[in-house]
């Protein structure tokens, strides 16, 4: 879209000549989605839209207990130490950020009085600072008031490497200063178009200075409140048994009117996903269960005449096959998959394209993911404004065979193609996980038809995703030809998601394979687009750059996207949870209620 046209459209929205929805639809038509469109409007000077969750209850409490079933229970309750989403979910019952993402990828104010925009003076034109205002009168569960000091402290706490917080990168590259008791200013070292990261969402939870001040840095693990959270959330802490139970009771002084609806909340952990689905959908013992990694067929059977149903939240999680651009079988200076090598088979783009043609996404969706997946050709699948409309996928053994013929791979006597006496043989690794092994089998079958011999390998998840330098089977070492797994998209902005594959991030022996660019894919155009997008303050141009990045991945077949995965939850028929694919399940817990 033309920059000028966009500017005039933003002007129209500002003056009320065009309504917000029409604007978002126009942008969606050119490939920009709602969260991005909203950020565009925010930077263009229009206050960001909020789509509050519907909330009919007219009084606080009275809803009885809310029983949640997390088949992996939270193991700790400090949001800045949360290793997995289960810990974030447990902490979020008690702690709150300034704002959280709602179902449309809009910011929903929680502790903030309002969402910063250029109009209200919260955002600066150069994208180098943000001013957040706290809601007045908010109190910690122990009665002390929440002030700007707590926010400044949260930043100091999380950004201190000695504290060893998992949220450290959210709070680095910026400084937080107190403006007055209820106002802070975040100053970014570089222009930061995606300003809504610190103090927003799971890692944005604010912790009380008066309880954690002594436990910043090296002493962080001794803080008694790591296990006894004192936050501002809708429920107050009662009891915590790691891995088993988190219990809270209604916060009678909660800062939002008529909320929360339930008198108490209980999060039970343990067991497995299938029986969790059964306890919610079939017997109704529990109200809500998280992360239903269960075959769709089983869920459909449970739903027949059951007491609950499944719910789906759309985010940007992508299940994909990565291609190794270096040679895993040659060792150079004691390093396999070294950057100094080129993959003998896969460095030919025609072979990569043939592989992409051999992934039957429709069958994978039908047989495995069902309602929990969407077929896609894109690596970047959300928010909508960042989703490319220029790509397409196809399944065709004939076309793949033709490409391989063209590349010089001729079918041998045993049905396997060969070239210069070398067999077309690939090692395909993934983590041990039912759906993944089934997907591997579907792809192997198609490859066989096209004359590619695929050897399947599956590695225990705790090894595959480990950063253990001594282990050869980690995804980041990538001592295989292709590998498949999922990368979750944790926020409605592609910056972190796409930055991984910049050539400076290649995983090598030198950086102990910590570089996130594990396929060792190097593309100058991609690097340039990422670098430009990082500092581009014009949201439209920025979205265009990320779309370009996605298209480069597609054109070069650096990845073969398999499935855009949705979050699947199980809920009782009467419960009305507020869910978002861009947030954790408990991020909008204050808006949950029961009907009928």
């Amino acid at each position: 879209m033309l920059d000028k046209e966009l500017r005039s459209m933003i002007g129209d929205v500002k003056d009320g000549r065009m309504d917000r929805r029409a604007f978002i639809q126009r942008l969606a038509a050119v490939g920009l989605t709602a969260p991005m469109a909203n950020q565009i409007l925010a930077i263009g000077g229009v206050a960001m839209a909020q789509s509050p969750n519907p909330y009919p209850p007219t009084k606080r409490g009275g809803g009885g207990p809310l029983k949640l079933l997390w088949w992996q229970g939270p193991t700790l309750l400090n949001p800045h130490f949360a290793t997995g989403t289960k810990d974030q979910d447990g902490s979020r019952i008690f702690y709150e950020p300034l704002a959280s993402w709602d179902v449309n990828g809009h910011l929903n104010p929680i502790l903030a009085a309002e969402i910063p925009s250029i109009k209200n003076g919260g955002l600066s034109e150069d994208a180098k600072s943000v001013v957040w205002k706290l809601k007045p009168g908010v109190k910690w569960h122990d009665g002390k008031p929440v002030t700007a000091d707590d926010l400044v402290f949260t930043w100091e706490y999380a950004s201190d490497p000695a504290t060893a917080c998992v949220s450290i990168s959210t709070y680095s590259g910026l400084t937080v200063e107190k403006v007055d008791d209820l106002t802070i200013r975040i100053k970014f070292n570089d222009p930061t178009p995606f300003w809504a990261n610190a103090f927003v969402g799971a890692y944005g939870c604010i912790i009380p200075k008066h309880l954690f001040a002594e436990y910043k840095g090296g002493k962080s693990r001794e803080a008694p409140n790591n296990l006894k959270p004192v936050g501002t959330g809708p429920y107050k802490f009662v009891e915590f048994k790691p891995g088993d139970l988190v219990r809270g009771e209604i916060n009678p002084d909660y800062h939002m009117a008529n909320r929360p609806y339930f008198d108490s909340v209980e999060m039970k952990g343990g067991g497995d996903a299938v029986s969790a689905a059964r306890a919610v959908i079939q017997t109704g013992e529990y109200d809500f269960a998280w992360n239903m990694q269960v075959e769709d067929e089983v869920l459909l059977r449970l739903e027949k005449g059951g007491k609950g149903k499944t719910l789906y939240a759309v985010g940007g999680d992508i299940e994909f096959i990565a291609i190794n651009f270096t040679d895993p079988n040659t060792e150079i200076d004691g390093e396999r998959s070294s950057l100094k090598t080129r993959h003998p088979i896969l460095s030919d783009p025609r072979v990569r394209q043939a592989l992409a043609l051999l992934v039957d996404r429709d069958s994978v969706k039908k047989a495995i993911y069902g309602r929990a997946g969407r077929t896609t050709a894109n690596y970047l699948n959300g928010p909508e404004e960042f989703v490319s409309k220029n790509t397409k996928w196809e399944f065709s053994v004939e076309k793949a065979s033709a490409l391989l013929d063209e590349a010089g791979w001729k079918t041998g006597a045993d049905g396997v193609r060969e070239k210069d006496g070398k067999k077309l043989k690939l090692l395909f690794q993934t983590s041990i996980n039912g759906p993944r092994q089934k997907t591997q089998a579907i792809i192997k079958q198609a490859c066989q038809k096209a004359g590619i011999d695929v050897e399947l390998k599956s590695v225990v998840a705790s090894v595959f995703f480990s950063s253990d330098v001594a282990n050869p089977d980690t995804y980041s070492k990538f001592f295989a030809d292709i590998e498949m797994f999922q990368i979750p998209m944790t926020q409605p902005d592609p910056a972190l998601h796409m930055r991984r594959y910049h050539s400076r991030n290649v995983a090598t022996k030198e950086n102990k394979w910590q570089g996130p660019n594990f396929p060792r894919w190097i593309n100058k155009d991609f690097d340039a687009a990422i670098d430009a997008a990082e500092t581009e303050t014009d949201p439209v141009k920025r979205a265009g750059l990320y779309i370009k990045c996605n298209d480069l991945i597609w054109q070069d077949t650096a990845f073969i996207p398999v499935m855009h995965r949705l979050a699947v939850e199980a809920s009782s028929n009467t419960l009305r949870p507020a869910l978002s694919g861009w947030a954790n399940q408990t991020d909008n817990l204050q808006d949950w209620y029961r009907e009928g």
Binding site: L69, G84, S466, Q514
Partner: protein
């Protein structure tokens, strides 16, 4: 006697040291990383993961880590969980009551079934009762607990809707209702575990009884004109119990160790489920502590069994 116990305890020290060394080395060599969940999270740079590893001493050489652990253990510090960031002993103590209640009840149920049934079956071998008891025992120990557990859930929870299948430590009731709820939710796991144990134990009691019942002194006792009940209980059972005591003593540590499969199925927050979730998340300090405590208990109960032999059969002297 006390000298014997003391000597046995002294012998236990090197064997426990050996056990701890083997456990530690195996766990240290096992692949995996407690912070693997952070790996695919784009919000967390890999340096954070590396810093955490360094922080918890995961990059030190094994012998150093072992010495640290041993030293801490001698001072009563059981270690610090990587995953929960709390002391391991608190974690274990939190789960001990539930384990004792559920697994202990199951063991008692097993004994209450196995001893009377086994004894009665042995007094009337190859009778109809014996045959039925035998058949049921075979069926009982051929069916694994993960199968019977799910079967029970399908029958009693899903179809009949009588019993809950999620065990909760947080029952909202007081007094008699609390007790009733506690019993109600424990029925299925206790039955699953207890019946499984009872099945093999019944066979054991029966054969131990049969070995003794044929001996001459039993015939003598009968010839003296003693009643059947007295002969069986005072003369046969006391002698037949020696092998049974060994079996029970070796099973008792399991009461503390929990039952991994059953705990997982019914979501019982016991030691077994703590162990399995710690293994899955590579939380080595917890795995180490649980397995080591388990090893200590096995050694201890072996000793107790040996002491009990002397009481059951004064001919066995303890020197």
């Amino acid at each position: 006697m006390s000298q014997y116990v003391l000597r046995r305890l002294m012998i236990a020290i090197p064997s426990l040291l050996g056990i701890s060394l083997v456990l530690f080395v195996v766990l240290a060599l096992a692949p995996g990383d407690p912070f693997s969940e952070l790996a695919t999270n784009p919000n967390v740079p890999p340096e954070v993961q590396a810093a955490l590893r360094a922080r918890f001493g995961l990059d030190d050489p094994i012998y150093l880590r072992y010495l640290h652990w041993l030293n801490a253990m001698l001072h009563g510090d059981w270690g610090f969980s990587f995953v929960s960031r709390m002391n391991v002993d608190t974690l274990i103590l939190q789960r001990l009551p539930t384990t004792l209640y559920v697994i202990g009840s199951a063991q008692i149920l097993a004994l209450l079934i196995a001893i009377p049934v086994g004894v009665y079956a042995a007094t009337k071998p190859y009778s109809l009762f014996d045959r039925i008891a035998n058949t049921l025992a075979f069926v009982g120990f051929s069916l694994p607990t993960f199968f019977t557990g799910i079967l029970f859930i399908l029958i009693f929870s899903v179809t009949l809707d009588w019993l809950p299948f999620v065990y909760t430590t947080d029952i909202r009731a007081t007094g008699i209702r609390y007790v009733l709820e506690m019993i109600r939710q424990a029925i299925m796991p206790v039955a699953v575990l207890g019946l499984f144990q009872a099945a093999s134990m019944t066979r054991f009691v029966r054969s131990a009884m049969l070995d003794v019942i044929r001996l001459d002194y039993v015939t003598t006792a009968r010839a003296k004109g003693l009643g059947q009940a007295k002969v069986i209980v005072k003369h046969v059972m006391r002698n037949a119990m020696i092998p049974v005591v060994t079996l029970i003593a070796l099973q008792l540590p399991a009461v503390f160790g929990g039952a991994i499969v059953t705990e997982q199925i019914f979501r019982i927050p016991g030691i077994g489920s703590l162990l399995i979730s710690s293994i899955l998340s590579n939380d080595t300090p917890v795995v180490m502590a649980v397995t080591f405590v388990f090893a200590c208990l096995v050694v201890l109960f072996n000793l107790i069994a040996d002491v009990l032999y002397g009481w059951l059969d004064p001919r066995i002297s303890l020197r």
